[in-house]
Amino acid sequence: MFIAFFYLLRARGLGTDTTEWMTLMEGLLRGLHGNSLSGFYNLCRATLVKTEADYDKFDMTFAEYFKDVPYEGELPEMVTEWLANKEEALKDFHAFLKTQDYEWKTQEEILKTFEERLREQREEHNAGTYWIGTGGFTNFGHSGHRPQGIRITGEGRYRRAFEVLSERRFRDFRKDNVLDIRSFQMAFRLLRQYSDRVNEAETEFDTDGTIRETADNAGSLKIKYKKPRKNVVKVLLLMDSGGSMDYYAGICSMLFQAAEKSNHFKELHVYYFHNCIASTLYKQPQLFYEDGVSTEWVLNQYGSEYKVIIVGDALMDMYDLVAKHYDRTLGEARYSGFDMLERFKEQYPHAVWLNPEQPPYGAYRSEDPEKAWALGPNGTILPKYMATAGRHGLGLDDAGFGWGGGYGGNWGESYGRIADIFPMYPLTVEGLERAMKRLLVSK
């Protein structure tokens, strides 16, 4: 039964699955939709949508699929009238276009002209009637006044789109966001599960076990010991803040919250830095002077048993990595960003770098690390000028594949250099899981 609706829902990003679909079918069999469109709408929504964040997406998909369904009664009056006058409204619209000296075009015609313009147009062109651009009376672009056309990014001005059953009340909840705090938390849990498996002697008195065993033993005492269940994991979380990281503020704050809420760590300390770890780390992401602590102090304070998670895009000017910055506690310029990263690596055998940024353009994977530096798309070897303009290979990943690439420029280079020092993982749920597993093996 209208199985295409099921696939449309999935295609529109609602994670509807067969269990939910069967529930809906059962509901229909029992007549829970009460033979009305709004009843059917409510039944669909209650069985298929499981978060208010998806209500809006559902409304739009529902309208997309069912907009042509002949429909009887029970919707708000306004909509009823509107739908009843559909034919006339279209006629009115045509008449209106004529008064404005626009000829009416079908969707195909508009698309065709759009393709033509794409081929012809060579420069930015706004507020006109012909070219692709913003404002004006053109068919193409955004924020324009033309009643028909193709909106390209931006915001609609007249929102001349089919609206759904009700107005889109749930728009604010929408999040086209695959990641959530929960999945991050689940990934952080890996750090505990493994720490529990540490081979330790059974040293702790097990009250529950003793009572149970004794009771099962009909009352004569039987003492039980167990392995200490304490989580020994101590975490030092260092986060890049500001600058190019602003784009990832949302995802970084999710990671931070997940770490904060994962109260199973024995200790969690969070510090912030900008671009690369320098002589000062900050307690707050705003990086105010008075929140600063000396990196030396951090290194002294937190021993090598800490597991270090560094979050940053690793994209910066090479100057940040190479230049020796003046250190106000040491009173001299002794360490460059590179040196600092090396010192962290030396002190903390368990350290990973999480990166919200994709490897810069031109980074490709190769089975032969030696060749990786000059590798282009699909295994092609890049011309020499492109390869040398970039940086050397990104080092090895878990699977022993080399990462390399040609074009990257100054920005890309720091990425590769840092990936050489710390094992680097993408800031995704899967990447975090891999990183957590990496933190538990010493290497």
Binding site: G15, D17, T19, E20, T23, E26, G27, R30, L32, G39, N42, L43, A46, T47, V49, K50, T51, E52, Y55, R169, F170, D180, I181, R182, Q185, M186, R189, D208, I211, R212, T214, A215, A218, G219
Partner: protein, 269 residues
């Protein structure tokens, strides 16, 4: 179907909410209710139980609650005591099995309404640990080798404040409804349930002020239904001239619980 919910005199439900409740009852699936604080999520279960004339069993979930607690607890300590002091019946383990709220709901003679309140307070794994039990409405007690199976599948209502995300596998088995904050029309109905007689100007002014405050974007903790009810009661008792309410917003502390919010509201006035 005699098992349909139409709201009660004390509880004003939107048609969508009533629909969701009836769908959940008919399909025998748990109903998951989310919504802003103060939209009456918990009261819904009471209203459903009352309207259908069924017993209500409430399982309030806390951060330390384990899924097992809802099924049964095996009181080993009591058994140990009894065995040490030679009490009779120690061999009968069944004597030491105490059913939890879920177990209680399953073993009831008549169909009951089971409210699992604030499920998101518990550990992340909590909802997953209940999948089988809520699906099959039964569980097994290894100690007594007995299965507790529901004679009548209880009507299960689950509330969540969205403190934690719930696992997908759990969500798939639920009927979901999000209670929107009531609009002025419905709010008026709700208010009238709480007050028998009310000065019309006072009501109109209070409502206007209330929605104006809720609309302020700078307010951190928005006032909800219960605060509005308290406020109207305070206004009535305080004998404030009705036409001054909107302009002066007296007793703002009843509506807004944070000093910062009151200051912000004063500034916006």
């Amino acid at each position: 179907m005699n098992n349909t919910f139409q709201g009660t005199k004390e509880y004003v439900a939107s048609p969508e909410l009533m629909g969701a409740v009836n769908i959940a009852i008919a399909l025998e699936k748990p109903l998951l209710i989310k919504g802003e604080p103060g939209t009456g999520k918990t009261m819904l279960a009471e209203a459903v139980a009352k309207a259908l004339g069924k017993e209500l069993i409430i399982w309030s979930v806390k951060s330390t609650t384990k899924a097992q607690d809802g099924l049964y607890v095996y009181d080993v300590v009591q058994r140990l005591y009894d065995s040490q002091f030679g009490e009779g019946g120690v061999d009968d383990i069944g004597k030491y099995i105490k059913l939890g709220k879920l177990g209680e709901a399953f073993s009831a003679d008549d169909q009951v309404v089971l409210l699992i309140d604030e499920i998101d307070k518990a550990d992340l794994e909590f909802p997953n640990d209940l999948l089988w039990e809520l699906d099959k409405m039964e569980f097994y007690i290894p100690e007594t080798k007995k299965t507790v199976k529901a004679n009548h599948r209880p009507i299960v209502i689950i509330t969540s404040n969205a403190e934690k995300e719930l696992p997908d596998a759990f969500l798939r088995r639920c009927i979901f409804h999000y209670i929107e904050f009531p609009g002025p029309d419905q709010m008026e109905k709700i208010i009238r349930v709480h007050f028998e007689k009310l000065d019309e100007t006072l009501l109109a002014q209070a409502m206007e002020a209330f929605y104006w405050i809720r609309g302020l974007s700078s307010i951190e903790k928005k006032p909800s239904t219960s605060e509005l009810v308290d406020w109207i009661r305070a206004l009535e008792l305080g004998g404030i001239p009705a036409e001054k309410i909107k302009a002066e917003i007296p007793f703002a502390g009843v509506l807004l619980k944070k000093d910062k919010d009151i200051a912000r509201m004063e500034r916006a006035k």
